[in-house]
Symmetry: C2
Subunit: 124 residues, 2 copies
DNA sequence: CTAACAAATGCGACACAATTGCATTAAAGA
DNA sequence: TCTTTAATGCAATTGTGTCGCATTTGTTAG
């Protein structure tokens, strides 16, 4: 199952890079100046998540948002940071802060999804 | 808009108290031994959230889960804790750990939704 | 350059969570 | 008991995300 380069993939990545924020499928579709099917965009986004290019955030509106994964020096993906959803401009951005937590004994954590909601610097 | 006591409200609260965990609408409906409409359960849950009796967690499956709000000594609601969703038994519980975080200047936080996913103590 | 294979796409239908409008029922106070 | 209006049931609707299947297109081998 080798991946192929397609105009759709490039366009989606380009939009996300330009925005510098997490975006939902419909926001991406609006921003792309091409006619791409909804299902295709979802499939592209899901593949990017599988490949570690993007990571998925589920906001408290129940919707999925996608943002570029930042890789550290060892090229290891690290997405254990907080996300911030602004109530005013309705965007989601990745905060630099790492999430620090401890869990009780015998619990093991595979994944985290932490979203803070409020007013961002541009809207305050 | 004064609230009234109804069998539905009592039943929903009872189920959540007994479970001691966060539950979704369909899980609550299954557990209640009455025939209550889906929309009604949602309305009851939403009212409880408005009144601070329950708090709402949105898991990374995009679904809403509801749990009793724990109030501290001053009867002030404090729901700034982590939630843990077990992949094995598919339940969500409130962890005792408070979420500690800092946000960049000029950001203000109104609400948080932090869910850790993994294997809980009963399933490991 | 062409042919062949399989990944990617478009389209429509579908599944599911959650909400809403409206008519009806029932809780609570007078 | 009567009145008021919050709460409920029902059906329809909205919105997000997925899936099956036929078609297109990227990639590689010859």
């Amino acid at each position: 199952m080798k991946r192929r380069n397609t105009p759709t993939k490039e366009a989606v990545l380009e939009v996300l890079k330009t925005a510098g924020k997490a975006m939902s499928q419909d926001a991406i579709e609006q921003e792309i100046h091409m006619d791409i099917n909804r299902a295709t965009i979802y499939r592209v986004l899901n593949r990017f998540c599988e490949d570690g290019v993007l990571h998925r955030i589920v906001a408290d509106d129940g919707k999925q948002y996608f943002a570029l994964s930042d890789k550290n020096d060892n090229n290891k993906v690290s997405d254990n940071h907080f996300h911030f959803k602004c109530l005013a401009c309705d965007t989601i951005e990745c905060l630099p802060n790492e999430v620090s937590f401890t869990v009780p004994n015998a619990y093991s954590v595979a994944h985290m999804n932490c979203v803070l909601t409020g007013i961002c610097k541009d809207c305050s």
